[in-house]
Symmetry: C2
Subunit: 251 residues, 2 copies
Amino acid sequence: MSDTVTACVLIIGNEILSGRTQDVNLNHLATTLGGWGIQVHEARVIPDVAETIVDSVNEARQRFDYVFTTGGIGPTHDDITAVCIAQAFDVKLIEHPEIAARIKQRPTPDDVMASRLLMARVPEGATLIDNPTGGPQGFAMHNVYVMAGIPMVMQGMLSTLEGKLRSGLVVQSRSIRAYLGESTISQTLGEIQNRYQAVDIGSYPFFREERYGTTLVVRGTDPTVIDAAATAIMQAVIDAGETPEDLGTNV
Amino acid sequence: MSDTVTACVLIIGNEILSGRTQDVNLNHLATTLGGWGIQVHEARVIPDVAETIVDSVNEARQRFDYVFTTGGIGPTHDDITAVCIAQAFDVKLIEHPEIAARIKQRPTPDDVMASRLLMARVPEGATLIDNPTGGPQGFAMHNVYVMAGIPMVMQGMLSTLEGKLRSGLVVQSRSIRAYLGESTISQTLGEIQNRYQAVDIGSYPFFREERYGTTLVVRGTDPTVIDAAATAIMQAVIDAGETPEDLGTNV
């Protein structure tokens, strides 16, 4: 068992790739899973195309500890995620009695109910992910977690997984803001990165209040090393003639 | 030559995967390229890890007509995109005289200049993508277009490519808003999709002004078929007892 637990996020939906919809699910997943000790190492945005979904799921579930999908579990013809997950695992698609029971709580004409019950379909052997917003549940198949695309619903489903997933080392960060150009400090920064190889140092330039600057972010799993690298970075900023601003941890 | 021109977007940067930064580049690329007749068929968010970048570039440039990357072309140690593209194409990394000339326009101490000149490195044989914000240019290597991660800079670079890329059929859309549940209309919608296979019909539920509804979006390259499918959808909404709201094209 590794100390690092990894995840891949698969964002399923033509509407993201057409530009109609701005994805916000990746950011929420990255932040939340990160806090639980699961590091998102890759994300893919893929269309509502069965072959692409099946291939992407099969590749991702081999390469990463966890796969989290969003989108494509509604009742319309373009909601093909459940079918594709079943195909990826080569199992039957079944109607899950618990989801069906929840759907049937709200009475509706027969033909509409038939459509709604499409949302009860899961691959055989799947377990459920509860949906605190009251709608149909999501599901998990081995290491693949299948959730809704609507951010509010996805966030609700994800919240029910807290404490239930395998957890690795939590990546923490410390950020330092410096009003100087990246190039002014980049050589020293590279040296600090070499000295503290247990952390990742990122440099993110910005323009605010009419001034250019860069935010220097140290990320790692050992707070002692993070702080040592951050101290070295702050000294480098001072040596460059500027005053570093310590933004603190995990901001 | 195909009527459909496809693209893959590679968003390079740990800061997106950690959740520190919300990506907005994919949405801008999808919308802009879509308008030019280039369809974004996949996007990947990948970390600042050389092997991952090289592999992703090599896979994407075979599978798609174009690849657009954002991020990792600054002057710091974590800016490894240019090195990786050179490696992906198995060519040398050179200092491009035009980028170097632009960088040298602004005087700076020698050690800082050495860092800034890292941004002049491109794979041998690359052509430049101009940078209207005045900073170092991006570059293109065959079908791979390498741009900055900062949205303002990326958008500036992208704007200079207008009219210079191979263009296919432009995907257009027409959207209809209906205040009814997806399930109410999903069966009819599936039938309409079957009837008009030249378009993609998407259904996107929403909650606004205290009411649930769904936006039905018809996407395709033939306006006649789009309009025929949209008319059928509006009739289906009427048959379901609601009043469809025609939101028009490309919204």
